[in-house]
Symmetry: C2
Subunit: 200 residues, 2 copies
């Protein structure tokens, strides 16, 4: 099988949420797997000189409208969360810990966190919320809390963020396939076209 799709995401990114609902189907369609890679946009924006979409003059209003409309057009449950954006360091570390443990609930847990924030109004920046959602899925909350606090997990997240910056990741969702970079939920169709060309 060909190399996995590197799927970079910040849990606070609406377009990453939309992509998270469809990336596995896209990968299957292309005979690939998905490497789910949580990162933090905060440190990346410091390098790129950008900021959260909704804070940008003019773009902010449009973005809010586009979030809701995109969700509607693609049939994805969505309620503009408050607060927005949020810190996602707990959620990202939790994900990395579960992946490191080889826990097969890691991916469903990512999808659960996204949905909790973007469809159910749960503030996943809070550690308690992350642990509660984990518990509901049969993931041991105490073990997860200990994992989130581990130094090696904290370091791993930093490494992942730096690695993403080195690879040119400046926003999410960001997909890298065989070194080819694609930014945005609206590049899914480009990925399909591109893979078809590669195959022919």
């Amino acid at each position: 099988m060909a190399s996995p799709i590197d799927f970079y995401f910040d849990f606070s990114s609406p377009y990453a949420y939309f992509a998270s609902t469809q990336i596995e189907a896209l990968a299957t369609e292309c005979n690939r797997t998905v490497h789910w890679r949580p990162i933090l946009l905060g440190p990346i924006f410091k390098v790129s000189g950008s900021g959260p979409l909704t804070n940008l003059p003019m773009k902010g209003n449009y973005a809010r409208r586009d979030f809701a409309r995109t969700a509607q057009l693609f049939g994805i449950p969505y309620n503009q969360p408050q607060p927005f954006p949020i810190h996602t360091i707990n959620a990202a570390r939790a994900t990395l810990f579960l992946q490191q443990q080889g826990d097969d609930k890691a991916t469903p847990f990512i999808q659960r966190l996204f949905k909790a924030y973007f469809a159910e109004g749960k503030n996943i920046s809070e550690l308690d919320t992350v642990l509660e959602l984990a518990g509901q899925m049969g993931i041991d909350p105490d073990k997860l809390a200990a994992g989130i606090a581990q130094e090696n997990i904290k370091e791993l997240l930093k490494t992942e963020v730096n690695n993403a910056i080195d690879r040119g990741v400046f926003g999410t969702p960001f997909m890298i396939i065989d070194d080819e970079p694609f930014w945005g939920f609206d590049r899914f169709d480009h990925i399909r076209k591109w893979l078809k060309r590669q195959a022919s």
Copy 2:
């Protein structure tokens, strides 16, 4: 027939060029016409605090790659122009003048200018180039030069830019359909889906 699609573009925007090759087909498909509205991104970027994509850290490299790849995937002739970006005030004024005259070559001339810049390496920031291309299409270059220099045309372009800012246009291509805003060539599919929902 329903109201036209307002199609805002800057002649220096690659994604506006891509959109310019397909907007008439999209409009026909949706039983609409196109109101081609040249604007200048320079004054808009002053309001939005943004700048040309290729000048932005990290995003610039990606953008250049995405321009070429998008053109390839959609079968649109493209050669990354140098210089880039350029001043498009002559081209924009020329277009407005032809439209004001009711010249039915106005739209083909817009498409000709886009192609000259993005596929043929012609620098359409130069007045001589604009006039030469006009002449080749049977548009009187002397009349056009006089039109470009008219005070009312200069004012019209300013009004159009301010009007675009008032309507929230912060980049191009920007399509407004019945007051619904869509930004980017990658929103063409969203427009299709959105219009289908409106009709049902």
